[in-house]
């Protein structure tokens, strides 16, 4: 008996499709899938998270925010201003606002879980009058009132769960950034809503809107100073400053609110208080700013 092995032709066991073509088709499909699913799940996650009772949210609040660098007089002044705004905003029962001032140079302010609002000296010291400060506070209080921080957590949790279910432990986490773009636009809607609520509150407190746009003017000035290319990351999710200034004028017109009036000056010791807070932050040098990336930066 004669034995022999035939020569097997190439290409039977192996596909001759170009790997790059396959990559493009698969990657395109995966991106579409991730973007669509992220959008749907972020929407659902946000809505569901808003149903979490505020009392539960309190236990999720970051502990790092519990201290404030503000001297007692400044803290009293800020709390008082926030209280005046809150009474005009009909916060739900049991919702409490806690203000914290960090003495650090960061140009930022944000609301996070549990009704905690963190202001940074870097931003506050650029505000020319109380009306601008009130606009900033009212904007952050509006975020708390709209449950935006917990909604942000819900959105992120939903999208991340979906991504980890889809891709498991494979190295496809890179596709996760596709989900960011959908989240960005949600946050813009949240910002617009917070601006609108804040504007109404500022109007009810002062009887006019003069000075409210000084907040955005200050942000715009900071943006110019740092150069357009290097925006503080927190502003990327915010509507354009000009857009927000225009919205103030439009809202004022639509409601017949006056944008003219005399602005309320800040207390005479305001800058001295801020300097004290700066020293306090240097002294105990556990700047809350370091703990921030872990909490959702919803401004």
């Amino acid at each position: 008996m004669k034995y022999s092995n035939p020569q097997i032709p190439e290409g039977i066991n192996v596909s001759d499709r170009h790997p790059l073509k396959e990559l493009l088709i698969l990657l395109g499909g995966a991106l579409v899938l991730v973007v669509v699913l992220s959008w749907i799940l972020a929407e659902f996650g946000g809505r569901l998270a808003r149903l979490v009772p505020f009392e539960h949210e309190l236990s999720m609040a970051p502990d790092s925010l519990l201290s404030s660098d503000a001297p007692p007089a400044l803290q009293r002044y800020l709390d008082d201003l926030a209280q005046r705004l809150q009474t005009q905003m009909d916060l739900p029962k049991g919702m409490t606002i806690k203000l914290h001032l960090s003495g650090s140079d960061t140009f930022n302010a944000f609301a996070t879980l549990g009704g905690n609002i963190l202001l940074f000296r870097g931003l506050v010291e650029k505000l020319p009058n109380e009306n601008a400060l009130a606009m900033l506070l009212a904007h952050e209080i509006a975020h708390v009132q709209h449950r935006d921080p917990i909604a942000g957590v819900g959105q992120t949790a939903a999208v991340q769960t979906m991504l980890s279910l889809l891709f498991g432990s494979a190295d496809l986490s890179i596709l996760g950034s596709a989900g960011l773009h959908t989240q960005l636009s949600f946050n813009r809607d949240m910002e617009r809503a917070a601006d609108a609520t804040a504007l109404a509150a500022v109007y009810r407190v002062y009887g006019h809107l003069a000075g409210a746009n000084d907040l955005f003017a200050a942000i715009q000035a900071e943006r110019r100073r740092t150069g357009d290319g290097e925006l503080p990351a927190i502003f990327s999710s915010h509507p354009l400053d000009q857009e927000r200034l225009d919205a103030i004028i439009a809202t004022a017109k639509a409601n017949g609110w006056s944008t003219e009036g005399s602005v309320t000056p800040l207390p005479s010791q305001f800058l001295a208080w801020l300097r004290q807070s700066q020293q306090a932050s240097i002294l105990h040098d556990d700047a809350p700013a370091k703990a921030i990336p872990e909490s959702p930066p919803v401004r």
């Binding site: 034995y3 020569q7 066991n13 790997p19 790059l20 499909g29 889809l166």
Partner: protein, 149 residues
């Protein structure tokens, strides 16, 4: 951003080095297959009984690693299903290389054919999280060596 850059570099490296390694390997496989074609390797368990052959166990073992690019495509395939073509070449190469090494072993012993050829396949670093996986293929058989007169 850094993550994305590292990822793209790994993907590009995987693609170019993986492709060139694969091409080189296939050239070598095809060339050696032609050389060893005269030495049959048969799956039958019943050797010819015309000659009183000497027998010897011959083995050929290959481990091939998957590159980052192939792994990424395969991971995407997990999503949509279908032929995991990027792993097909890997297994094809490992199988043929193992058979060639087994034949080289038999040839060195002066065998005229190999009977009862079998394959074992194992995945190395299976379940080891993000480690790049490798595949091992072992080919083994009974070499039949014609007795010296």
């Amino acid at each position: 951003m850094i993550e994305l850059i590292v990822f793209l570099i790994l993907l590009t490296l995987g693609y170019f080095f993986g492709q060139s390694a694969e091409k080189r390997h296939y050239r070598s496989i095809i060339e050696r297959e032609a050389r060893y074609n005269a030495l049959p390797a048969i799956a039958s368990r019943y050797p010819p009984d015309d000659v009183n052959y000497r027998q010897a166990l011959v083995t050929g073992n290959t481990v091939i690693s998957v590159d980052y690019f192939k792994r990424f495509i395969a991971a995407l395939r997990n999503l949509f299903g279908g032929r995991v073509t990027s792993y097909e070449t890997l297994l094809d190469r490992a199988r043929r290389e193992s058979l060639l090494r087994m034949k080289a072993h038999a040839d060195a012993l002066g065998a005229s054919m190999v009977f009862n050829v079998k394959y074992e396949t194992a995945s190395i670093s299976k379940g080891a999280g993000n480690a790049i996986g490798s595949v091992e293929v072992l080919a083994y058989g009974t070499a039949l060596i014609e007795p010296r007169d």
